[in-house]
Amino acid sequence: MIGQELVPILLRKTQANIYLLVHEKGLSYSNELALKQLFRMPSDKNFLSRLEVVRGDVTKQNLGIPLPLYKKLIGVTTHIIHCAASTRFDLALDEARLINVNGTRNTIEFAKNCKALSQFGFVSTAYVSGKRKGLIKETDLEHDAGFVNTYEQSKYEAEMLLQNYADKIPISIYRLSTVLGNSKSGRIGHLTAPHQAIRMMYLGLASMLPGTPDYSVDLISSDYTANTIFQLYWNNFLPKTYHITHGEGSLSLEAMIDKSYESMARVDPEWVIKNYPKPSIVSEEAFDLFVGAAVAANNPILKSVATTLNHFTRQLLYPKSFERRNLKLSLPSYETNLPSIHDYYEKIVKCCIQAKNNKL
């Protein structure tokens, strides 16, 4: 989702040539098609001349790029932004590691070979903090609190890996909270866990969520986040870690549920007549029993709902806040310009409920 927002900014605000590594799902994209469909940009000659889609796979040696092209790229690459990852919360740990840890290892190997490399940006998650509670600093990483899903754990391990290269490569890490979508258009790159939760509420299938009503759900917009990364990376690069989060003013879990229902009622007035109940906010113990029963019963719909909510919402049991000291020092205006979640939440909800069969 961030890559889709970041590339247009790089094309518009810099004169850099961009080599865009895309995996097999992007095989059908020509440079022009990528510009139009992935980035919704006009077929401008300048843009086209600076964008090149490179087929590859971060899980493979040499990033799966044919050797002649690989050699060319290590010769010309000056900047790398690594945002290739699986953001699925329900992958087996081995699968998550393959993409998020091995993918990072292979990207770092590529970076080490780039003779003119000046900086390496890594898009991570604020939830590398896993099951820790309380204040999380940007300088914090190592902990033994555990993780609520394999996404968190694999991103944590990727960050640990990057620490080994800190003295060789200038690395900047951008830890995002939960990216919801574009604050102006409501566009969502793909449906991730919070979108699934909204969809389940819309379909009347969300029975319960673990947590406490006042837990703060930290949601950020993809456009503002991409712009923040761009400013930190391109205009103000420092080899530091940044928390890019919403922080104060985030919705509480109860308010998020209420706002979802209010938004759904406005977006689809006919939905109101169904009078679906709001999910209960429950303890971990109650939620575990519910998920266990749904899995044991093997009802395909409920099992899918319970397991999806299980992976997303379990983080709600570990209330925490993220310090943004580095971010404030580098970008003092970050908080002033941060879009209010209240202003764009409905656009995101609209996009979620218009998704057909869980696809956008």
């Binding site: 009347g204 029975s207 319960m208 109940p277 999910p279 029963a293 044991a296």
Partner: protein, 284 residues
């Protein structure tokens, strides 16, 4: 079967012969009347509730008059309820008997007759073709009866509250939504009923369940933040779920076990297709 055992079920009661329930319901009604302080002439209403419309399979033959062969009239006749208005209530699933009790109470509140009483009976009998597992619950055949009277010495009706979700009227179509909605609405219905009665959950001595899966009661207990030992689950394994008779069977068994003390507040909760979530507060 293993899943149903894991969910707390053990056995199931099925009527042995065709329309045996008519004999059973007569027996239930006679027992209820004999336990009650009300004499037979004080019964002004007979409510027969059934949540299953296919109970009497003998009606389906060539003689159209069989459509008008009413079990409620037969029961009135066999009990000798010469002064009772008899009527059948239906289509509230498992919530129907609790609603009948509430209706009876409202009638008695409006009645000026000093010793007025209502006999409520329920018959839950599945047709022979029906499987006995519904949404992860085992279903038994059963009958139950009780007398609601102005003179009753115990089980005072304190409050009744029902939450409706009529969008779910087409049960097969909305099965998944029903399963998802069950817990949040159950939690809110019980909490609201107790609150409206001027009580707290801590005031409730016993939660008397409809005998759906023990697993679901364990979850609901956590949602309500009440210990599972306050939910009387002894009949889930032995009898299973019976559409609308569970609470009366459970109350009778609790009384005979000595589980109830005078003054205890009891919360009877059930969910019925249609859909409704019902909670009745009694004071023993």
């Amino acid at each position: 079967m293993s899943l149903l055992q894991d969910f707390g079920f053990g056995s199931c009661f099925i009527q042995e012969s065709h329309n045996e329930f008519e004999r059973l319901i007569l027996s239930s009604a006679q027992k209820a009347l004999s336990k009650s302080k009300s004499d037979i002439d004080s019964i002004s209403q007979l409510f027969w509730y059934s949540g299953i419309e296919a109970g009497d399979e003998t009606r389906h033959n060539d003689n159209v008059l069989n459509l008008f062969r009413y079990p409620v009239s037969r029961l009135r006749h066999e009990l000798g309820l010469t002064k009772a208005n008899s009527i059948t209530l239906s289509q509230q699933g498992c919530g129907g008997l609790l609603s009948s009790i509430y209706l009876a109470k409202q009638l008695l509140v409006a009645s000026e007759v000093e010793k007025d009483a209502v006999l409520c009976v329920a018959a839950d009998v599945f047709p022979h073709w029906a499987k006995r597992e519904i949404m992860y619950n085992i279903m038994s055949d059963a009958t139950a009866a009780l007398v609601v009277s102005k003179e009753a010495g115990n089980n005072r009706i304190v409050h009744f509250h029902q939450t409706f979700q009529s969008y779910y009227w087409d049960t097969p179509k909305h099965e998944d939504e029903l399963l998802a909605s069950y817990f949040p609405i159950a939690q809110r219905t019980i909490e609201n009923t107790v609150h409206q009665a001027g009580l707290t959950l801590a005031d409730i001595k016993w939660f008397i369940p409809h005998n759906v899966s023990l697993k679901s009661w364990e979850i609901l207990a956590k949602l309500l933040n009440v210990p599972i030992k306050k939910i009387w689950t002894n009949n889930i394994a032995r009898i299973g779920h019976t559409v609308s008779c569970d609470h009366i069977i459970n109350l009778v068994d609790m009384e005979s076990e000595g589980a109830l003390n005078e003054g205890d507040y009891l919360a009877l909760f059930t969910f019925g297709f249609g859909a409704n979530w019902s909670c009745l507060i009694l004071q023993h």
